[in-house]
Symmetry: C2
Subunit: 96 residues, 2 copies
């Protein structure tokens, strides 16, 4: 039986794959990524611990709207937003 971490990663693959349009089945552009993050991290984004960091991540996506990201980059952005939105990390953010 898959572990919790494997279930989590399977969910991330499905969400990413679902957003891949016909083009390249393994890439989405930053514009699509931003919509995906806003749709799938709604609660995280509503209680941001580090709004500046969240804005920076989102603006970066806007600035490179047509740049393409693969699954690894998708996961890196989700992790960065998770850190910026979770009180678990709030002490870590203060240490910056």
């Amino acid at each position: 039986t898959p572990t919790q971490l494997e279930i989590a990663m399977d969910a991330m693959i499905r969400i990413f794959h679902y957003s891949c349009k016909e083009g390249d089945r393994f890439k989405i552009n930053n514009g699509e990524l931003k919509m995906l993050l806003q749709r799938h991290l709604t609660e995280f984004l509503s209680c941001q611990k580090d709004p500046e960091l969240v804005d920076k991540i989102m603006q970066d996506l806007d600035a490179n709207k047509d740049n393409e990201v693969d699954f690894n980059e998708f996961v890196v952005r989700v992790a960065a937003l998770t850190v910026a939105c979770n009180d678990y990390f709030v002490e870590q953010l203060k240490k910056k």
Copy 2:
């Protein structure tokens, strides 16, 4: 209610946090990370699509055993192993 992606990230925070020893509550060393990956990605690691890539990731952890990784780096390693172990990515791996 949290979305699937938020549930997945909460699970990753719990697993990472659970592995943090007393030392720095936001970091684990590569030795601990390797054990965590072997314990929590058992099924992934048993049906590797790109064994070379998996070995490289694991050897890298061994080589820098005492180096510390934070949550972001933990997620990056999990994503890399996910790509190396999932048939969803097998075509992408062939394109390399």
